[in-house]
């Protein structure tokens, strides 16, 4: 689908609030919790009068794209410092699927099938550590302090969002509207004046169809941008305002995960946290958190610096689950939820302009994730709290939400906080990965142990410039002519190229069992429960379809978490099926071609969209 259709200027409905927040995740949760607690004086009068509705308290609106405030997010392990600060009496038993961390391990996984591409050092490690391995896994004798999450907690962000959102709504001081995709900010020069909702009643290409309802303009004195790393408002601001000098958003990962009912007799106790390295490929990390009730959240992270043009997270996750150490405890389990999400892995380097006249950015999309400690939720919540406190300060003083005032309050608080201090330590921690997996691990260790004084050098490269051709990637494994035969055969059958190539280089076929090892399509239906509301346009578009037509890597197809992007049998740009999209945003960076109008971006545009996962447990 081309991105060249222009919607004519049409009259749009307009409304006004005082504060409009885009996206409801941990950052917005922290913001709204802090804000609503301070909006009323003890005598029941508001701390400031609404300008949009005089005589009322400030009108606070939050728009969430997904169909429910708990849909489409992820399981997490976190120290939870800022969350605990907001809820000092937090009782985790009140939040389903939450538990304190009781047991944390880092495991090095040996390749049990012989198909993994292991550098010499990994092969050596497989041999040397073999004698101390249990089920082909070696438990690291200690966890570096910078990676440790104990004492901390594990929970499903979906369940946390439900709990936080329900508490917020009960205050009557903030409205959280699900099923409400925001298309873009309303900009006036460099200032933001509110947001525009996505158009409805449109064709696939976004052009007006029957029942066309132009998206409403919601004007507000302050727009809080909390729509995550692939959110359309944040992306729009980055395009219009640019990033601060020296910053970039070139490093990403997709986290694919599922929630599993563990089999009876599984010896993992609630609160167990496993981090794995080494398998299915050295570049792919695994995680597993055990919730109360014999349930686990588990999955893998596939980073943008895994230089494979066929980096399919789903199949790699299935191989990872079958690793002997894990499979011994997972076999007989049942998948009850499944999903995926893109993670912005640049951390502080990816920080955008944090505020301007009429807007402020919080959470993952504001570069708050700590890429050394692998922690994002706690930091996102903290930035929300910082903005909440700042907004209350400005409201009480009767000050405007100008760049100057937001800099002096929100940005100043953030710079003085532990989030910033730790982000600075982490800033260069992953540079080594740009030059290889071993350098990456050594670099993280150096940064972590020296608190950022010594770092492994490396220059981050745009994802589209890293991806080799399929022929190059497999040059020592499959002859070019055979690759062409496999391509032709897959095109004829309409089957996936990555499966055929992985089969060919020795990855065993997945023994589907219909309960835990299920086909990708079954995972969409029984795990992700993916839905798409009618009347919206395609949110995945190709900037220049001609470039796609000649693309041979087609990483967007191979890496699509929901198999929503697929080959057009008639040639040309790939096709997109909105009803399968889980809105993970991986297509945004899983593309081997640059956008002809902006070489920093890829040829895939990820816009505002409706629907997606209906799973609330991930």
């Amino acid at each position: 689908m081309s991105d060249s259709i222009k919607i004519p200027d049409v009259p749009r409905a307009e409304m006004e609030a005082d504060i409009v927040c885009v996206g409801f995740g941990p950052a917005a949760g922290g913001f709204l919790t802090t804000l609503t607690r301070g909006l009323m004086n003890e005598d029941g009068t508001p701390v400031a009068e609404s300008k949009a509705m005089p005589g009322m308290p400030p009108q606070v609106i939050c728009y969430e794209r997904a169909d429910d405030i708990g849909f489409g997010v992820s399981g997490v392990v976190t120290k939870g410092r800022s969350i605990k600060a907001s809820f000092p009496d937090l009782d985790l038993s009140q939040i389903p699927m939450a538990h304190e961390v009781t047991n944390e391990k880092i495991l090095y996984l040996k390749d049990p099938v012989g198909a993994s591409r292991r550098p010499v050092m990994f092969k050596l490690a497989d041999k040397v550590l073999g004698r101390w391995m249990e089920d082909d896994a070696f438990e690291l004798p200690f966890i570096p302090p910078f990676l440790e999450k104990h004492p901390g907690m594990i929970f499903s962000i979906g369940q946390l969002n439900q709990w936080v959102g329900s508490n917020l709504m009960c205050t009557g001081l903030a409205q959280i509207w699900p099923s409400s995709p925001v298309a873009s900010p309303l900009m006036d020069g460099k200032a933001v004046k509110g947001v525009r909702m996505a158009d409805q009643g449109v064709e696939k290409d976004g052009s007006p169809g029957s029942g066309f309802m132009p998206g409403m303009d919601m004007k507000a004195a302050l727009t809080v941008v909390a729509d995550g790393p692939v959110g359309p408002v944040g992306q729009h601001l980055d395009r219009e305002l640019g990033l601060p000098e020296g910053n970039h958003q070139r490093e990403w990962a997709v986290g694919m995960k599922c929630v599993v009912d563990l089999p009876e007799g599984c010896d993992w106790e609630a609160g167990t946290v496993l981090h794995t390295i080494g398998y299915p490929e050295p570049e792919i990390f695994g995680f597993l958190y055990v919730y109360p009730g014999n349930v686990a959240s588990l999955g893998i992270l596939v980073p943008s610096w895994f230089d494979s043009p066929v980096r399919t997270a789903y199949r790699y996750m299935q191989h990872w689950m079958q690793h002997p150490y894990l499979w011994k405890r997972l076999q007989g389990g049942t998948m009850r939820s499944w999903g995926a999400k893109s993670l912005q892995e640049c951390g502080k380097r990816g920080e955008p302009i944090l505020c301007g006249d009429g807007f402020a950015r919080i959470g993952e999309g504001s570069g708050s994730t700590n890429v050394l400690t692998g922690s994002g939720v706690d930091e996102a919540w903290a930035t929300g709290v910082q903005l909440g406190e700042s907004v209350l300060e400005l409201l009480k003083n009767g000050s405007e939400f100008t760049k100057e005032n937001l800099d002096a309050t929100y940005v100043a608080k953030r710079r003085a906080s532990w989030v910033e201090e730790e982000a600075k330590v982490a800033e260069k921690s992953r540079d080594g990965f740009t030059r290889g997996i071993l350098r990456g691990f050594i670099g993280m260790g150096l940064t972590g142990l020296t608190k950022g004084l010594v770092n492994m050098p490396g220059t981050p490269v745009k994802p589209q410039d890293r991806i080799p051709t399929i022929e190059n990637y497999y040059k020592d494994y499959i002859a070019q002519g055979e690759i062409q035969e496999i391509r032709t055969e897959c095109a004829k059958k309409g089957s996936s190229l990555h499966d055929a190539l992985m089969d060919r280089v020795g990855w065993p076929e997945i023994p589907l069992d219909g309960t835990l090892l299920v086909s990708h399509q079954d995972a969409l239906l029984m795990g992700g429960k993916v839905q798409a509301n009618p009347g919206y346009g395609d949110h995945v578009r190709f900037a220049d379809p001609k470039i796609c037509a000649s693309c041979r890597e087609r990483v967007c197809i191979e890496a699509c978490s929901g198999q929503a992007i697929y080959t057009n049998p008639e040639g040309g740009a790939p096709l997109f099926d909105r009803e399968k999209c889980v809105h993970c945003g991986a297509c945004l960076w899983n593309c081997s071609k640059s956008n002809p109008k902006d070489k920093e971006r890829t040829n895939v545009n990820f816009r505002a969209g409706s629907g997606g996962l209906h799973s609330v447990e991930n």
Partner: protein, 269 residues
């Protein structure tokens, strides 16, 4: 005869149909595990009734629409943030269980009492709408009982269309056995109409309508009175979700006819 109707839609929440439901024994009888944390939606049957009501009210000026819901108000509030974007209505809440493990008679009694308490309601103009059954553990009998309790004897179930005549009469097209329709004409309101799917598509989300609705409806939620459902003598021997069987098998080079035959055999088994 007047054509400005007072339309009362009875409808509450059910768990999002895509979620995994697990019955558990609670202190007050059966319940669903983590029910308050399960994402919920407006019962789809009641949703059809609401959209039909809004459309009718739009076409007949002077009409009003109330949505009367028996459900836990915290959860209702969350669901209303989606529902209220679809159509204008005034919300009236009875704060109680929507678990479906409640006695239909008690549920009907609460709804009837709540409707009786609507200050501006003119029962001579009353069209009592609802789903003809609930998508979640409903008995399919509540609407009839609410109608009886309110003294409304003209009742229709499985309604897909109504047409208002110039004299205020209402032609009702309701589903009957064998995939056929029956047309009836009722002279005027009041009447009970238990809707099937109706004929209207789900309206788009209109944030403006949502904001207008919630300005009225948030106070209604806060005013909601606890609903007393304790009068029931109903008890449950056991509860369970319907069994599902799922088998996935990869087959290659099998003709479509063979696959169809195998699926039929599987279904028969």
């Amino acid at each position: 005869m007047s054509t400005d109707f007072h339309i009362v839609v009875c409808g509450s929440i059910v768990p999002d149909p895509l979620q995994t439901l697990k019955p558990v024994d609670g202190p007050a009888g059966p319940a669903l595990q983590n029910e308050m944390m399960l994402p919920a939606v407006l019962d789809p049957w009641a949703g059809h009734a609401l959209y039909e009501a809004a459309n009718l009210a739009k076409n007949y000026p002077g009409s009003r629409v109330w949505l009367v819901s028996l459900g836990p108000k915290a959860k209702l509030q969350q669901v209303m943030m989606s529902v209220s974007q679809k159509a204008p209505f005034e919300l009236v809440v009875a704060d109680g269980s929507a678990s479906g493990f409640t006695d239909s008679f008690e549920t009907a009694k609460i709804l009837a009492d709540t409707i009786d308490g609507i200050a501006d309601l003119d029962k001579s103009k009353l069209l009592l709408f609802g789903g003809w059954q609930s998508a979640s553990r409903g008995s399919g009998a509540v609407m009839q009982m609410v109608g009886e309790m309110l003294g409304v004897t003209e009742q229709f179930q499985g309604v897909d269309r109504i047409t208002i005549g110039s004299d205020g009469s209402i032609e009702v097209m309701e589903r009957i056995e064998g995939g056929s329709y029956q047309k009836s004409i009722v002279d005027a309101a009041p009447a009970v109409l238990g809707w099937a799917t109706g004929e209207l598509p789900e309206p788009p989300n209109n944030p403006q309508i949502g904001m207008q609705n919630m300005q009225k409806n948030m106070p209604a939620l806060q005013r909601a009175q606890p609903a007393d459902l304790s009068g029931s003598s109903l008890s449950f021997e056991s509860v369970e979700v319907p069994q599902q069987r799922r088998e996935t098998r990869v087959v290659k080079d099998v003709p479509v006819e063979e696959m169809a035959k195998e699926i039929v055999e599987w279904l028969k088994a």
